[in-house]
């Protein structure tokens, strides 16, 4: 985390969204005339076709691909869980991105090289073109360098962006991501912030009302006429039909929602209705559950009070496939056999966001946190450079007890092995974790 991160991933997004909303409304109210697509087709139309069309179509596809996971993450997750679908989505995304980039490059070239266009090109136009090129290029670089973004973003970027909108932003989710991804996120918010101050406002003018408005439009300036005959009969009928259809649809939706809400309210205030027997059964079940919880707590406490907690027999451990156990803090941990035949115990709770690290050791002697791809060396506990996790996984102290319960050897985290270790003494030895090491580790 750098000093800039809180600004870039908390301040900037809110600044940009505020500017977008306030700026656009302000501009609309004070200078509505300036809302225009600012077409330059009149001055130059041959290259425009090869610039404007691929850019807008590519952009539309890419934006849809960004919006669906934001709006329906569950649906999206299910969609990309199928490998073929994931491949298809990524391919479409990259193709659309390349189309958009090609369009942007053509648009920029014609701005720069056409004489008449230079006359109407503002500095802001060039700034926007530059930013858009950068942003699309970054997006493509992310897609190509950090493959399967459609999948990994569901656990990182999607919750981050959703957090922004639900006012529970969690920048931890992004600051650990690769720099390309972070730049792409920052670029998006810079462009959003500039929308109200540039030609990009035309995106708000997408004339959807054209789909249902009557073909002819008549405006009466004189209110005396409105009273007599507001509009032609045909237009009026058409308008009335559309209005009724709209009202009908809204009313139906409202009614359904209202019924649902009312139903919930009634149930809430009237409380559950059940027979005495049912109530007794329910209370019993509740009691049972509470007892179970209390029992669990007791066991937990008892466990913690114990001097030693059993992990496994030394013979069960090996160097490549860890055995999971729960330590004194109730956190997951992994047990391996080290090269010297002694146990190696390491925490399995990722130091990044607390996922459980996988137990299989790779050829480099590392274990993987699957959530954000951090590799930890089991010998040192350290994550690989550039991984989201920064702190090493802590080792856990152990004690070896013989079947009679006597301590053969023990090792505090980071400390030396205490006790005499010979192969015959290790026969039938059991691996334990020791309370005092846990307390030492905490201290």
């Amino acid at each position: 985390m750098t000093a800039l991160d809180p600004f870039l991933f908390l301040g900037l997004p809110y600044l940009a969204l505020t500017l977008l909303v306030v700026g656009s409304i302000w501009r609309f109210r004070t200078n509505r005339f300036s809302y225009s697509a600012l077409s330059s087709q009149f001055l130059e139309r041959r290259q425009l076709l090869w610039g404007s069309a691929p850019w807008h179509i590519g952009l539309f596809i890419v934006l849809v691909g960004h919006l669906i996971p934001l709006l329906a993450p569950g649906f999206w997750k299910a969609l990309v869980s199928h490998p073929a679908m994931l491949l298809a989505i990524e391919t479409i995304g990259v193709a659309a991105g390349m189309m958009a980039l090609a369009g942007l490059l053509v648009l920029t070239a014609r701005r720069v090289f056409s004489g008449p266009l230079q006359r109407i090109t503002t500095v802001m136009d060039l700034v926007i073109l530059g930013l858009l090129i950068l942003q699309v290029a970054l997006g493509l670089a992310v897609a190509l360098n950090h493959r399967w973004g459609a999948q990994w973003s569901v656990g990182t970027l999607v919750p981050y962006l959703r957090g922004l909108f639900t006012l529970r932003p969690d920048m931890e989710l992004v600051i650990a991501l690769p720099p390309l991804v972070k730049l792409h996120v920052v670029g998006a918010f810079v462009i959003i912030a500039l929308i109200p101050f540039s030609r990009l406002v035309h995106a708000f003018s997408l004339p959807v009302a054209y789909l249902w408005r009557p073909p002819q439009k008549v405006v009466w300036n004189n209110p005396r006429r409105w009273a007599v005959q507001p509009r032609s009969v045909r237009e009026l009928e058409e308008g009335r039909r559309l209005f009724l259809r709209g009202v009908g649809a809204t009313a139906t939706a409202g009614l359904l929602m209202g019924v649902g809400v009312a139903d919930k309210l009634v149930r809430f205030f009237s409380g559950p209705r059940m027979e005495h027997e049912e109530e007794i059964a329910m209370l019993r079940k509740k009691l049972e559950r509470l007892e179970q919880t209390a029992e669990g707590r007791e066991l937990e406490l008892e466990r913690k009070r114990k001097e030693f907690i059993h992990v496994a027999a030394l013979a069960e451990l090996n160097g490549s496939d860890g055995k999971y156990f729960i330590d004194y803090e109730m956190r997951p941990a992994l047990a391996f056999k080290d090269g010297d035949g002694l146990p190696l115990l390491i925490s399995a709770k990722c130091t990044h966001l607390g996922c459980t690290v996988a137990g299989r050791v790779d050829p480099q002697g590392r274990i993987l946190c699957p959530c954000h791809i951090s590799y930890f060396d089991i010998a040192t506990g350290r994550p690989n450079p550039g991984s989201p996790a920064k702190a090493p996984l802590p080792h856990i102290g152990w004690a070896l007890l013989d079947p009679s319960g006597a301590v053969i050897a023990q090792k505090a985290p980071g400390g030396p092995v205490e006790g005499e270790v010979t192969p015959d003494r290790l026969q039938g030895a059991q691996v334990y974790i020791a309370k005092r090491f846990a307390e030492e580790g905490r201290a």
Binding site: F42, I57, N221, R225, Q229
Partner: protein, 498 residues
Amino acid sequence: MDVRAQTAMVFHLDKCIGCHTCSVACKNVWTDRPGAEYMWWNNVETKPGTGYPTLWEDQINYNGGWKVDEEGRLQLRCQSKSDAFVKLFYNPNQPGLDDYYEPWTYQYDDLFDPEQGDDQPTARPISQLTGKEMKIEAGPNWDDDLSGSPIYAENDPNLQVLSDEDRRMLFEVERLSMMYLPRICNHCANPSCVAACPSGAIYKRGEDGIVLINQEICRGWRNCIAACPYKKIYFNWVTGKSEKCILCYPRIETGQAPACFHSCVGRIRYMGVLLYDAEQVESAMQAPDSGLVDAQRAVLLDPSDPKVIEGARRSGISEAMLETARRSPVWKYVMEWKLALPLHPEFRTMPMLYYVPPLMPVMGRAGEGVYGHDLDELFGKIEEARLPMKYLAALFSAGNVELVEGVMRKLLAVRIAMRAKDLDDVSQARAARALRDADLTQAQAEAIYRLTSLCDEHARYVMPPVQREEAMSEPGCRPDACKGECGLGFTRPPERGR
């Protein structure tokens, strides 16, 4: 019945001398601004010729106006509701700068402070787009008076209806003929530009039917430019908005004729109110080509008919407007005498600007390059007119030659009758026969003569009584706010995107 009032126009082409005074008056009043230099809300074309923008009549290329689809419904040629959205990014039917011309001015300063030298100083042309020196290669009336030229006139789309023989005769050097066609926005009753505008910025003013673009709502999507078959909507490349003829509504609202009408040297222009039934417009425009003029006439309502008057009152049309409609010179030309025809009715926009086709090229047909002396044939025969009737029919009646011939017979009959009356060098019998053939009475012929030749300003312009006060009588409507609703009412200097 939904009675509407429309400010309608008649241009009498026999009187047009092609002087472009109307164009210049309009330019000086409205389009002398950055981004509007190339706009000619009023222009005058030479026919046969290619017009402005080049070949605007060729709807195979431009896709303007309406068409009747297989189910008999009226559809825009340029777009359906859905593909209008695809065309926002790039409109294949929008004319570009090369279809108009690159506007220019001259380096006048060079005339005043040149270096001392042997040559006369000249003012070189500079582009108003780039400010750089340029070679002038096209202009708004580039083929002015160039009828018969192989690179301009021969490409006139209306000539396609003529046989090769007819074409060859039309362009034979000593028989060359031409006419002038002044054009402004037709302020159509069934405007395709309004129907094509995605933003809903273009509208027809209810009181007088003037078609305007609300500059505050226009987003520069340019679909109107493609949709208007007359190419009378222009794109302002500085402000990024569409602009069009506003029929000088600020002048109309103060009782003055529009600038192009007022300045017309040949006094060819007439303005008056027409009443029409808005409910019938759509069905009338679905008529087959040859019946379109009659269908359009059937939509127009007689302002003296008590039923119409009652309907007009119900629709909120003021008594003053009704009174104006009864005195309308446009009603006389279009309906009473049936002399004036709409330009290209086959575009099905129901234009509200009507043209009296020119009779003049008929004259001088008599001898081999020598005018005939046979008084009976003084004005020649319509069948042998220099401008073929077929050509005029392609312009003014969607190919219905009979209609144009009827108009020509009337125009000729009026001349013969007036000649017989004033000079008495044509026999009364010949005059009576001409009138009978043309289906005119002596009184009608004299009325046509008076309104054509002796009319003063008040007879030509019977202005609609739309007053500024009436247009803005809504309580709480500030004048500056209302101005924004009507065409070019800027309350600040318009800047591109700012």
